[in-house]
């Protein structure tokens, strides 16, 4: 004879009052079972003695799910900056990957490269990764805000590029988040040093090490690095002169004698990583020479001598000088060529 009068006990209880931190204590979250949940297990044993069913016996065990402190900081975007630019942005995301609500303090520090000016941390309220009006400045040492399990916060490092920065320089900044007790500025401490207790919710650090200084594995901190890359236009100017003609040889092997026509050629090249705009070439007419009328060209196109009608002039924008607005030069080798002729006195 076998009996199947089986009693089953299968229950859960949240030992702490939900504070809004837990959307639903029993729901499956990426971060796992909420801290404070009591997990109970009661086994039931049915048996017979001498063919007679006996009263079932049970044995149970419970434990309280502990506070698994885990967080990740990830860098979403770097920034290409030009010298002197202000409010340049590195975007980050902070996520609570633990199983309980915690607050966070933040710090930004230079990992390597050039030092930026006026470095600040903002909460990116609208989460667009850009620095805009609604974003709020973070004050060092405060709690940037509580995050429930799985919740995220968008953050920005905002700084100004030094005027003296040069093309190709980089600046690596680290955003480090430190776990705080929810609603406070008290840094969360792990319970490694105190005795374990299965019926008490205890703190266990589970975070990975990050690149930031002092961010070790299982320390309640995490960090990520964002990179500023300085990109600027680098202009090189090459000026050459050729003799076009002289009064005796004409254009055949002319020599630089009084009365000869000499052509100056000014080539501007942008070898930098950023486009240059509003490039203007100015060149004074050399002593002992006289400008030859109507000889200014820009990229082989003729320009008038008068000011205001086209990109170039003589003696109008700048007295005694040829002035040509070359305009935009593309990064990576964009060039502009200006020529004009003079007569040797």
């Amino acid at each position: 004879m076998t009996m199947f009068n089986v009693r089953l006990t299968r229950w859960v209880a949240a030992a702490v009052v939900a504070t809004g931190a837990f959307l639903a204590p029993q729901s499956a979250q990426a971060a796992g079972t909420a801290a404070g949940t009591t997990v109970s297990n009661t086994a039931t044993v049915n048996f017979n003695v001498g063919g007679v069913p006996q009263t079932a016996v049970t044995g149970s065990a419970t434990f309280v799910v502990d506070d698994k402190v885990n967080l990740t900081v990830t860098n979403n975007s770097g920034a290409t900056v030009v010298p002197g630019s202000t409010n340049q942005v590195l975007a980050f995301t902070l996520q609570n990957t633990g199983n309980k609500t915690h607050g966070y303090s933040l710090a930004a520090s230079l990992g390597s490269g050039i030092t930026m000016n006026n470095v600040r941390i903002y909460r990116d309220i609208n989460g667009d990764g850009n620095f805009d009006g609604g974003d709020t400045l973070y004050t060092g040492g405060t709690n940037a805000g509580d995050l429930s399990a799985d919740a995220t916060m968008r953050l920005l490092i905002v700084s100004d590029t030094p005027v003296g920065a040069t093309n190709g320089q980089v600046s690596n900044y680290q955003l480090i988040a430190t776990t705080l007790n929810a609603g406070t500025t008290t840094v969360t401490a792990h319970d490694n040093a105190i005795a374990d207790d299965k019926d008490t919710q205890q703190v266990v650090f589970a975070d990975a090490a990050g690149p930031g200084a002092g961010d070790a594995v299982r320390d309640g901190k995490h960090s990520a690095t964002g990179t500023y890359t300085v990109s600027t236009a680098t202009l090189t100017v090459t000026k050459t002169s050729t003799v076009v003609s002289d009064p005796f040889n004409g254009t055949t092997n002319p020599k630089r004698i009084p009365g000869a026509v000499v052509r100056y050629s000014i080539v501007v090249t942008n070898t930098g990583a950023a486009n240059a705009t509003n490039v203007v070439v100015r060149d004074a007419i050399p002593a002992s020479t006289t400008y030859a009328a109507s000889t200014i060209t820009l990229n082989a196109g003729g320009l008038t001598d008068a000011g205001g009608d086209d990109a170039g002039d003589i003696n109008a924008t700048n007295p005694g000088e040829v002035t040509v607005a070359v305009g935009a030069l593309a990064s990576g080798g964009g060039t502009g060529t200006v020529t004009f002729d003079v007569t040797v006195n």
């Binding site: 796992g32 048996f47 006996q54 309280v64």
Partner: protein, 159 residues
Amino acid sequence: MRSPFFVLSAAALLAGAAFAASPMSVTTLVEKEVVVRDTKGGVKVNRIPALTVVPGDTVVYTYNLKNGGKAPSENIIIVAPIPAQMKYIDKSATTQSTIVTFSVDAGKSFGEAAKLEVTDKDGKRRPAGAGDYTHIRWVMSVPLDGGTARAVAFRAVLE
């Protein structure tokens, strides 16, 4: 409660007081598996009392069955729930001298692992996986003699 053992439920004690003390008792032991490295660089899995448990930890439930009486107990059936927050680790239930079956319907019915099915969210039937089990049942094929003990166990991960 410091001890990981819990001896008998109140119901069982009452029943024992009203009639005769039950010869059988079961204690539930909860342990956590931790991976440790020995000095030679090898890896082994130790079991420690499940005092600090966080999501991702593997927990071992052991049910120690003891027959304190003189007569053998027969037809022993042990039913253990898999807590809702935990996921059973496939093939982790001990099988010595027992037939192990599982339930996917909160203990209403039990069947062999390979034959269980569940209904998906989209209404389709599919073979049940370890994550679908709600209860484990051990049916012992041999009696437990008086004065002897036996244990069954399974492992699960806290989600």
